[in-house]
Subunit: 372 residues, 2 copies
């Protein structure tokens, strides 16, 4: 194998590869990136056995071939090369080394045979559709904060992507929850997605996927089966197993009868919550919201360290209410609001509270209260 | 006590205080900042029993008095208050609480009696002089990287500030070393410093001192005794115990007979060292320098992961030489060079190597080679 490639294109491809490989591996080849050169393309492939990322980059291929080298080391080298450098990768197939040459820098890296590299089996996908990058970005960005980190509830360790009914129309929906809070984000159903099986996209996949969605104009091809999901952006494909489990029936958690309505400037609200939470004990971080006519008083009482109170002018016209929340959860959902005021809908101090942005029903958050 | 103070001035004073207090304290009051209001000034004082920082800020004092509250909590609160806010601090002396009020935010913080706060005993200083902030900044910034972290060699855990002879003239000198590398930085002797006892300024003090030296125009009053050192910038005074030990005779380590002279662009050199070190095994990070007529080849050979080589055009006219160094040490001293080329002076592959910036004798670095 012998090929030349521009440093920028190489850095992008190897960057994505090294991010997928696990830092600590008992199987040495899983630390490597598979490099395959043919025609006028070089393909970089990396996997942790659950996720596979394949990146195609244009290259001047002098001699077709393939090999594998440490993804992290190659990435570090390329990162440190000067911008605009032309990089030559050479593998003679016999020495067990791949050469990396750029200007007056020469590296030789230990290789492992390409035959040993585990390539993910190709699958039949039941559903294929395409969506604009910003649509997918919104679905996952606004839901991922609620993903559970509890490994025992493995079926909550991802974002549940599925087709759902919203006001009689079908939508593409992402839901995540950890039992304390929940995010439900809807987008118009893309053509061809109607028969998509619901899948739980694992946390790590959501993180890697995010890197494919930066380009506002990019059209992302999505393929879904019962066991796998694939996202293909121009030049780069991410394939991932999905979590083998059943996502709970979240619809029962989303309150529909909450009538006490608070409307508040989200940024002001978040800053005030953050301030009063300063004195709370690390453990509980409980913030009390006391609501009365157009008036919200946020307060924290931590006997050891002190107390805090802040008043906000808000829109609230219902019966007085006192309700407590974990400050972290309030901050996280308030930071999802970017265009309009945050609207909270309460029932009682013991019931789940709903939050949304203005009257937008396509992004809905639920947060459980705590006793204060 | 009751006073009002502008949020910016309060943040600066409390920021310095919370940085001095230790995060984990067995003595609760050491986590607190002492606040004393009198006249038109409020004084903030914090200590870890080795270092004391005193910050004076202008304030509108309605009722003189003093109290202590958690430095970290007060800093967090003030940091989160909006820019330009006017903050009122009130302590009634009876409730065991201090109120912090700003706009619609109200906090009450647990206090501890001011009488329990350990104020550092005042001292007689043998030497008092003043120096411009940039002069002190250079002395400590260029030497501190070489401070040892080995606690068993506690007398190396700081910067040795003393008066020394350099080419027949007296200079103010800072030296730090960990046995592997050494930095020796000189400045013209300030008036009144000639009889200063040599003191070892602890690492933490060097870090805190740095925050007093940002203003290029500031005149810093320095006071030194056998046991303490004090740095006073306008409005803020840092007093610190010095390390009770004898700094080794470093002059024996600095080679004077090294004749093989290499001159190299410091930035190019650092980048090349960084690149070839990528393949080195984490542990040794050994980089070999092979010198021959106007040519430097940097190389690393790590049997497990690979090899790297890079050639640099340099100025070198002496006998060929091969010598090995720890890549980290080479990078650190190369990054001290900011104006001119780096000049290395070698003797043999087993002897300490000297580095300086061009022909500047006021900043000299020594680094021990390692076998490669």
């Amino acid at each position: 194998m012998k090929l030349s490639i521009e440093r920028g294109a190489l850095l992008k491809a190897v960057g994505q590869a090294q991010s997928v490989v696990e830092r600590r591996n008992t199987i040495p080849i899983l630390a490597n990136v598979l490099i395959e050169a043919e025609g006028d393309t070089v393909r970089f492939r990396a996997t942790d056995l659950d996720i596979e990322v394949v990146d195609d980059a244009p290259a001047k291929v002098e001699r077709a071939g393939a090999t594998t080298v440490s993804a992290v080391t190659l990435h570090e080298i390329v990162r440190k090369l000067p911008d605009g450098a032309l990089v030559t990768l050479t593998d003679d197939g016999a020495s067990g080394r791949m050469m990396v040459d750029a200007g007056r820098s020469n590296f030789s890296l230990a290789t492992l045979p390409r035959e040993d590299f585990p390539v993910m089996a190709s699958s039949e996908y039941e559903s294929n559709f395409s969506a604009k990058a910003p649509v997918l970005r919104r679905l996952f960005d606004k839901s991922k904060f609620a993903i559970s980190t509890e490994e025992t509830r493995y079926y909550l360790n991802g974002v549940y992507m599925h087709v759902a009914d919203a006001d009689g129309a079908q939508v593409l929906r992402c839901v995540a929850t950890d039992g304390h809070r929940l995010a439900r984000i809807d987008a118009p159903l893309p053509e061809g997605a109607a028969n998509m099986p619901g899948v739980i996209v694992p946390r790590k996949t959501v993180g890697e996927l995010r890197k494919l969605l930066d380009d506002d104009e990019a059209e992302i091809a999505v393929s879904v089966s019962e066991t796998k999901v694939r996202f293909a952006a121009p030049g780069i494909t991410l394939t991932s197993k999905v979590i083998d489990g059943t996502f709970p029936d979240y619809s029962r958690v989303i309150p529909s009868g909450n009538t006490r309505r608070l409307e508040v400037d989200a940024a002001e609200f978040a800053q005030a919550v953050d301030r009063v939470a300063t004195v709370s004990s690390e453990r509980s971080r409980a913030v009390k919201m006391a609501l009365d006519e157009d008036r919200l008083v946020l307060s924290v009482n931590a006997p050891d360290s002190g107390a805090a109170e802040e008043e906000l002018a808000v829109a609230y016209g219902d019966d007085a209410l006192e309700i407590g929340f974990n400050a972290k959860y309030l901050l996280e959902i308030a930071s999802q609001v970017d265009r309009e005021n945050a609207v909270f809908l309460f029932n009682s101090a013991g019931d789940p509270t709903l939050m949304r942005e203005g009257n937008d029903q396509t992004a809905v958050y639920v947060v459980m209260p705590m006793r204060v």
